[in-house]
Symmetry: C2
Subunit: 140 residues, 2 copies
């Protein structure tokens, strides 16, 4: 993953603002339905890979390394559009999601909502069981 | 803004994970169109206010204080749905946006995208001019 970065990719990456840890938050949205699928972070290298390959690549803070989404599970995210906000300190990608974005088996990580009570309640059904996801995912 | 917090609101807030600075990232999405409007942070108090009043309230890191969205501009966000992700460390709110979410006058903060070249290009037109927004917003 450390091929030379094309000048136009370098130019794009240089225009965004990474935080003190070299990270930028990234919102991932289904390009077709508009559903927000997940939230993660990118560093400069993962952003360059995302721009270059048009496949979502994040930086895993817990594992301290690049995280090419779906590399082990097959649940990849093909990037159709990539946007930045007014302060250039947040990224939005619009993707075609293969399978489920969430390691729990739900299509979206945001499957729990307030339903009027004092708890966060799951809504809808997972696409895959927890066991299937564990087998597929490892942690990708 | 420091009225006593209802027990059910306290219960909901206690189930989310704030970071070392007491903050949680929040994605704000148009409830009707699915457009991602903005990205900001909440602390426990602003989240409780959001849950209680059903109006988006953030915590401004630059100003170090609560930020009831639209308080000075009138560009409020009525919250129809509030969700948390699988790790309970990111919030998604679905809102009815009054006017523009972005201080630049664009409806969404994510008005710039990669259009194939080496720059981030604005897409669409702002709803308000920069001058109108400055007059309206102050910094809300």
């Amino acid at each position: 993953m450390s091929e030379p970065v094309a000048p136009e990719i370098q130019a794009l990456v240089s225009q965004v603002r990474f935080d003190a840890h070299g990270l930028i938050p990234c919102i991932c949205q289904d390009a077709h339905t508009g559903e927000v699928l997940m939230f993660a972070f990118m560093n400069a290298e993962s952003m360059a890979i995302t721009l270059e390959r048009r496949l979502a690549c994040y930086f895993s803070r817990s594992r301290g390394k690049l995280w090419l989404k779906g590399e082990s599970s097959g649940h990849t995210q093909r990037v159709l559009d990539i946007r930045i906000d007014c302060d250039a300190d947040c990224v939005l990608i619009k993707v075609e999601q293969e399978g489920a974005a969430c390691h729990t088996g739900f299509r979206s990580c945001f499957y729990r909502h307030r339903d009027g009570a004092d708890t966060w309640s799951p809504e809808g059904e997972p696409l895959f069981s927890a066991e299937e996801m564990k087998a597929k995912y490892g942690k990708s």
